[in-house]
């Protein structure tokens, strides 16, 4: 950890990181009860990326997540109660029971709606960035996506357009090496991803350490330039998905990836790493606060009503 990190900053980062980890572990624990009526793509193991990036963003910056977007939603300040209620299919959900886990949104926290169709939100994030530039603000957009999404044509179309128009957008590639169950070696001709992107005149950084602080420092430098109107930047951040592609469980018994591959990442887990940097009392207080907030979110979801039948026809048109 770089020495300039204050205890206050570490506490803030840990608060977010711990909350997301425990929130998703609770989701996984509830899942077998069928109370959650939505496929869940857990980000467990990858949360540090959302936490590091969103810690640099301002409240008025916009985040665009993916169907594996619980971490980005929560790290940006999305309402956990509305998120849990959404997964329960309740009327009080952040998408009023119409979106589920894959279509989380919180307009108040500037969390854009997520999509189940891989890559689809990348150009939409650029559209937000275009609007910000047109309105001459210094707000920026952070667009999260996976390595699979980087294979979609619209990704390259968006890179070109964003660079051409110097849009204030930070592309964040969460490279976890698998698209569903297919390894990168079967999908990529080369792994020189940042080199490909750099040909558009976009500044790139590749972070392979899994270290939250290294990532946060890189993001901070890029965001500063983005706010000055210097055009888009991209970070490729290596990470590993600990659970199955969709669902609450581990899947190392399925044979498509060895547990040994995950263990390296589990050893680098940022949750205990940051916990160890804090005084015991402060750590315990943060954790107790998180557990209480998660309990409150679950209680809110359980107690909220399902939408009435007439709701089916609402919101087809604005």
């Amino acid at each position: 950890m770089p020495s300039e990190y204050t205890q206050e900053t570490i506490a803030r980062l840990y608060r977010s990181l711990y909350f997301i980890r425990r929130f998703e572990e609770r989701v996984a624990a509830i899942y077998p009860s069928d109370a959650i009526k939505s496929p869940v793509h857990l980000s467990i193991g990858q949360e540090f990326i959302s936490v590091a990036v969103c810690d640099i963003l301002r409240a008025d910056d916009v985040v665009s997540g993916t169907y594996r977007g619980h971490a980005a939603y929560l790290a940006k300040g999305g309402d956990p109660k509305a998120m849990m209620a959404e997964m329960y299919g309740k009327a009080t959900g952040c998408s009023a029971g119409r979106g589920g886990s894959m279509h989380l949104i919180d307009a108040n926290a500037n969390v854009m709606g997520a999509s189940a169709v891989v890559g689809t939100t990348i150009p939409i994030a650029a559209g937000y960035a275009l609007a910000m530039k047109r309105r001459k603000t210094d707000r920026i957009v952070a667009a999260f996506f996976g390595d699979g999404a980087s294979e979609e044509g619209c990704f390259y179309e968006t890179l070109n357009f964003a660079a051409l128009h110097k849009l204030p957008i930070l592309f964040v590639c969460e490279n976890n090496f698998y698209a569903i169950h297919e390894p990168q070696s079967k999908r990529w001709a080369t792994d020189r991803f940042c080199e490909r992107v750099a040909t558009f005149g976009i500044e790139t950084r590749r972070i392979t350490s899994g270290d939250l602080f290294e990532l946060r420092d890189a993001v901070a430098g890029m965001v500063e330039k983005l706010r000055r109107g210097e055009g888009p930047a991209l970070i490729e951040c290596h990470a590993y998905r600990w659970r199955e592609h969709v669902g609450p469980n581990e899947d190392f018994d399925q044979g498509y990836r060895p547990r040994a591959e995950a263990e390296r990442w589990m050893e680098m887990d940022q949750v205990p790493h940051l916990a160890a940097m804090l005084p015991e009392a402060e750590r315990a207080a943060i954790e107790a606060e998180a557990e209480a907030a998660i309990d409150a979110a679950v209680a809110f979801a359980e107690q909220s009503p399902f939408p009435e039948a007439e709701e089916l026809y609402r919101h087809v048109f604005a």
């Binding site: 916009v62 959900g93 119409r98 689809t120 939409i124 650029a126 559209g127 275009l130 619209c154 179309e157």
Partner: protein, 361 residues
């Protein structure tokens, strides 16, 4: 110029071409609302999308009128994102066929976002595109793909057939808080109608009765509304009165006006500017059948593109589209069953081609 409704009303507004009506509508809305912008390949070049974006660059500058890379998929996403962020983009495609490159964004995001996110966002965007016809437009420059968009909840689909509706629908589309598929037709571009200078809207979901007649209800979509007008002129020679309806907007569809007419005539001919199979004509015919079937005799027929790909040679292409003669023949056979078959005089059919709709609006 012949016009079935006679001259334009006295003291009437100036005549304007469809293409100029489109440009005027956009310019007036850009003037009114800073958030409106126009983008798409070639919108800012010297040809200005056959003139329909003429003058916008000079007046509003390159920040609000700009070309794009040939990246229809991502550019549609950019339009959606900008719209969600509060702007009002108009994304222009010189042919409707290119909308197929935008389908993921239009169907999976634009149509669904307001619903899927529980009303948290709106997508006030217009996707403008033009259908081509003749002079070798062929397989990929002539398609009317409106039924694909009609199929999906959340998109509005607009197909004005004349200059008056072109301006009023464009202004309404820009002000609408939903994604609007705005379908133009190349052959309508030079047609004129009285068009008021001041901004006005044509309300979505209200069909226009272009002609009143008691023998048969004819519904014409997009350019086919004008072809039906010409067919009606031919049918007048044999005393067949046509109740001609232009739906103007396909979503929302004013089925009530069509049903009211068919309830009187008991005969419905739908002429679409596209294929028949699973098309707008199928939707209109089945909705009318559901409403009126069983309440008396009902005769329904549909016409549209031949069930082939559009060929380029005129020798084949002229058999691909319905035309005033084939429409008139079909309508006559329905209105006068049991009588001798009738075909319009070819010379009269040629003259009918000069007919343009000039109101009343």
């Amino acid at each position: 110029m012949s016009s079935p409704n006679g001259a334009a009303p006295a003291g009437a507004t100036r005549q304007l071409r469809y293409v100029d009506a489109l440009a005027e509508a956009v310019a007036q809305e850009m003037q009114r609302d800073e958030d409106v912008f126009v983008f798409g390949l070639d919108v800012d070049d010297h040809r200005a999308i056959q003139g329909s974006t003429r003058g916008l660059l000079e007046r509003f500058g390159p920040e609000r009128v700009f070309t794009t890379p040939l990246s229809e998929d991502a550019m549609t996403g950019v339009a959606i994102g900008a719209a969600m962020a509060g702007m009002r983009p108009i994304h222009v495609h010189i042919r409707m066929d290119f909308l197929l490159l935008c389908m993921n964004q239009l169907i999976n995001m634009a149509a669904k976002a307001h619903y899927m996110y529980g009303g948290a966002v709106k997508v006030p965007m217009v996707a403008r595109s033009m259908i081509g016809k003749s002079w070798g437009q062929g397989a990929q420059h002539s398609q009317g793909l409106h039924s694909m968009f009609m199929h999906v909840p959340g998109l509005k689909v607009v197909a004005p057939s004349n200059a008056y509706d072109a301006k009023g629908c464009m202004i309404a589309a820009i002000r609408d808080d939903n994604p609007v598929i705005f379908m133009e037709h190349r052959l309508l571009y030079p047609t004129e109608a009285p068009v008021p200078e001041a901004p006005y809207t044509v309300e979505f979901g209200r069909a226009r009765r272009m002609l009143e007649g008691g023998d048969i209800t004819v519904v014409g979509v997009s350019n086919m509304a004008i072809e039906c007008l010409r067919a009606a002129e031919l049918l007048r020679e044999v005393d067949v009165g046509v109740d001609l309806i232009d739906p103007i907007t396909l979503v929302p569809l004013d089925i009530d006006t069509i049903v009211d007419s068919v309830a009187r005539t008991r005969r419905l001919l739908v002429v679409d500017n596209s294929w028949i199979n699973c098309g707008a004509s199928a939707e209109i015919a089945s909705q009318v059948s559901e409403r009126l079937g069983g309440s008396g005799p009902l005769l329904v027929r549909r016409m549209g593109f031949a069930p082939t790909t559009c060929p380029t040679t005129p020798a084949l292409e002229r058999h691909f589209y319905p035309n005033p003669s084939t429409i008139a023949e079909a309508a006559y056979a329905m209105a006068r069953p049991g009588g001798a078959a009738w075909s319009p005089d070819p010379e009269h059919a040629r003259l009918a081609y000069q007919a343009q709709f000039k109101g009343p609006f």
